[in-house]
């Protein structure tokens, strides 16, 4: 199972802060997870997760490119950060 988290504007637009994603047979990479969420959850999710400034993190480290996931990973989607 993957733990998937959403923050800030992304969380609000999806109406979802976190979800558990069943680990599929054959495994999954980050792009595939994003495509599946889009396909399974419909247009509004496609639109939100398809925004080109979305940042992705795997196990609390930002992933600049696609990468293979492992069962148990924590994946997060969030907009550009604005701290300080």
């Amino acid at each position: 199972m993957l733990k998937v988290l959403f923050f800030a504007r992304v969380r609000e637009q999806l109406g979802c802060a976190s979800l558990d994603y069943d680990w599929p047979e054959g495994g999954l990479d980050l792009d595939a997870l994003q495509a599946r969420l889009c396909a399974e959850r419909g247009d509004s999710w496609c639109e939100v997760l398809g925004q080109d400034n979305i940042i992705r993190a795997v196990n609390q480290v930002v992933a600049m490119d696609n990468r293979v996931l492992c069962d148990g990973d924590e994946v997060a989607f969030f907009p550009p950060v604005t701290g300080g």
Binding site: L5, F7, A8, R9, A57, Q60, V61, V62, A76, F78, P79, P80, V81, T82, G83, G84
Partner: protein, 160 residues
């Protein structure tokens, strides 16, 4: 006689409560009078942001990742400059104009290292640390968007 260099003392806190800059600075010191220089930065909620009158600023973070990534950047600063201690406190939750948001304090023997490391850590907090700000202004709310100048500023450290 100087012993082997001590690793710098690094503390990172993300919290809702306000903080006392005097206490934080005192806690940065080792008590051994090794520090010659302490540089601090405090960020505040401004009443006017880009001509909007801000009533409430709400700050969200990514629990766990935020703390770990700030600690990593403070350690990275300590490899670039000879630091004795670095401390970061960042608030989350609902804040009002005039409230303190963030405090970064750096202690070193000399001021060059203290200034550079403090600015380096602040640039990271502004551009890479997972915090998000939402402003409430005159009945409407909106997420603050990233300043392009902030990213450019953080990038310049890559050439250092």
């Amino acid at each position: 006689m100087a012993g082997p260099a001590q690793p710098p003392r690094i503390t990172v806190k993300v919290q809702q409560q306000d903080f006392d800059v005097g206490q934080l600075q005192a806690a940065l010191l080792s008590g051994a009078a090794a520090e010659g220089a302490v540089t601090t930065f405090t960020g505040y909620v401004r009443r006017d942001n880009e001509s909007r009158a801000v009533e409430v600023l709400e700050l969200e973070h990514y629990p766990g990742m935020t703390e770990a990534s700030i600690e990593a950047i403070a350690l990275q600063a300590a490899t670039r400059w000879p630091l004795l201690a670095a401390s970061v406190v960042h608030r989350v939750g609902a804040l009002s104009p005039g409230d303190q948001i963030v405090w970064v304090g750096v202690a070193s023997t000399h001021r060059e290292a203290a200034f550079s490391a403090c600015e380096f850590i602040m640039d990271y907090l502004k551009t890479r640390a997972p915090f998000w700000k939402k402003e409430y202004c005159e009945g409407s709310e909106h997420w603050v968007s990233a300043r392009r100048s902030d990213s450019a500023r953080a990038d310049r450290w890559k050439q250092g």
